[in-house]
Subunit: 364 residues, 2 copies
């Protein structure tokens, strides 16, 4: 906020609100000034918010009740305190809310200004909270480590029981979701993907009515939310009998996955980690079959910073730091035929990475 | 679009994309012009999108593959076709995306303009698709009716088995979620609320570690997603022994709920339906204990139009129409003591409403 010359920052993106305040409700905005953090919530959330924040060790956020809307309360506070440069989260605040807040802050200032009348201004900002969130603190790492171990046990213990010919993808997904809950997760982190046969070539297939058959490749991509934090794992198997073509794809992706893991260390560029996977697949003639990025950050959100992907003008390369946690998940997809994806979750350490998920690359 | 003088509309809100195109993926934007609808998706979704849209009866959306980003493809299409007034969904598009699209559309036009050089302009629009979505067509009504009946069976058959003293709120919620899935839902529509004892006075409590005890009021608020559509139901019970104070609250809310249902008919104002509930609670001296709106629309989203609430400058009253589906859910909350909420889902018909959920007001 000091760097951006801001007197205040309106934090409206929920995971950012939760990260800064500890409040996990589905409404509320945080008004952060240089000396205070206030959660503005309406009637429905005031009691829950006070209980949640008052019980938080080291918490310093106070609760402001919005008698009308959150934004009216925010505008009243900003005006009464004479705040001039007010940051908003440009990646998350909708145009409508921005325009309404701007108009409310301008208020009578919309009539011709006298010289020297200060007009509050909304300043679009990017990634102020996200950059802090990308580096996990020890308590967050402990939660993510525990979550990854629990998810790994689901993969090792439950998957071999669940993935059987004759079951539909949806049945497999439901059994997998139940195993995720039994493992202590609050809920699956996303709609579980069970993509069998030709469906395995759809990177974002869902689980449908197709029945698993002998010889099918099956992509199993599932995750869980544990104490608010998301972990995410993918393994691909082939139901017997195996084929040479599947083994070729599998070997290529496994090698790309290992190459990307080997490229992770403090200071490595996100694009270099991605390139390590991509280059390996190129050697197999499979570069064009890998159409997504190599990974994404994990935390309060399933997809957060850093993004491990090709260089892009909108998303320049950046160096990863100790404490970042992200997925490494190369894949290849041959439309109509087969797909393979292998995904683990890693923590960046000084000279490499700590693979938080502990699952054999080849499940069986 | 004709009314707003638009040459094109960028539909980016996912439920709106799904409603218009049938595509339910987690990325993609729809570029709607007066004669065409094109879904712009990246590599990962192209195959799935083509399969989904080509198999859709009556569908007219074609798929455009975004080789770089969705927005670059959208800008290229808009520029090559000379579109001038391009609507965006102001309630959903973030400031950052708006600013980037604006800059990309202006392109070299940011240098001094020659007279007559047309500059494409992004026009913030509100509720263009949402107003259409608020009125359900017969196929949607059939899905919502089926979903409400399935959710009702969960309430009638499973709840009495599940809600027992000694269990924690979280255990009750997990059992309820399992029953919702067994009833054929894709997933719960939101984090199930099981709020017992003093927690019942928190309108947005979640299910926690508190154990249900004799004499507890218990608010049970749960929902399911069925074939993409959301239904939502709340009942409040008191574990024996019952108390006079609970019966008083329960009677007040049940009467408010009945009064609101009686106020629903084609042409009724949303504010009048809300007022019917609020006025009843006022007679019980409980108006101040009812801090939320009376209901919300149901459809592809859990909370959509219409909003059944008090009049508000930001959300003026509007008449409800035949085919709208929404919740009716008055509640009272006495902090530290007890809360009661009763919620059903209704379909507006000409002279009244059809209550889609079929569950006794008093579960036992």
């Amino acid at each position: 906020m000091v760097d951006a010359g801001l007197d205040a920052l309106i934090v409206s993106h929920r995971p950012n609100v939760q990260y800064l305040s500890g409040f996990a409700g589905s409404a509320g905005a945080l008004l952060v000034t240089r000396d205070a953090s206030r959660l503005v919530v309406d009637f429905r959330y005031v009691t829950a918010a006070r209980e949640m924040l008052e019980g938080r060790p080291g918490g310093s956020t106070t609760v402001e009740r919005a008698d009308r809307s959150e934004d009216e309360t925010i505008v009243l506070l900003l005006k009464s305190e004479g705040r001039q440069r007010i940051g908003i989260e440009a990646a998350w605040m909708p145009v409508l809310r921005f325009n309404r807040l701007s108009a409310a802050l301008a208020g009578e200032a919309r009539t011709p200004l006298h010289a020297g009348t200060p007009v509050p201004v909304l300043v679009p900002t990017e990634r102020i909270v996200e950059r802090v969130r990308a580096v996990k603190d020890p308590a967050e790492i402990a939660v993510l480590r525990e979550a990854a171990e629990r998810l790994s046990r689901v993969a090792v213990e439950a998957l071999p029981q669940i993935v059987e010919p004759g079951r539909t993808e949806a049945e497999v997904a439901a059994a997998l979701d139940a195993a995720v809950r039994e493992a202590g997760f609050n809920r699956p982190a996303f709609d579980t993907i069970v993509a069998s046969g030709p469906n395995s070539a759809l990177p974002h297939a869902r689980a449908g009515g197709r029945r698993l058959a002998p010889g099918d490749p099956v992509v199993l991509d599932f995750g869980g939310v544990y104490d608010g934090y998301c972990v995410d794992l993918t393994r691909t198997v082939q139901l017997p009998p195996t084929t040479g073509e599947f083994r070729r794809l599998f070997a290529a992706v496994a090698e790309a996955h290992a190459a990307a893991l080997a490229a992770v260390r403090a200071g490595a560029l996100t694009t270099d980690i991605d390139h390590a996977a991509r280059q390996t697949l190129e050697r197999y003639g499979l570069a064009a079959a890998f159409g997504h990025g190599t990974g994404h950050g994990l935390g309060l959100e399933l997809h957060e910073e850093p993004r491990i992907s090709k260089s892009d003008p909108a998303r320049p390369a950046e160096a990863v730091s100790v404490g970042m946690v992200f997925t490494v998940e190369p894949g290849v997809y041959l439309p109509g035929t087969a797909g393979v994806r292998i995904e683990d979750d890693v923590l960046v350490v000084e000279n490499g990475c700590d693979v938080l998920t502990k699952v054999p690359i080849a499940l069986w």
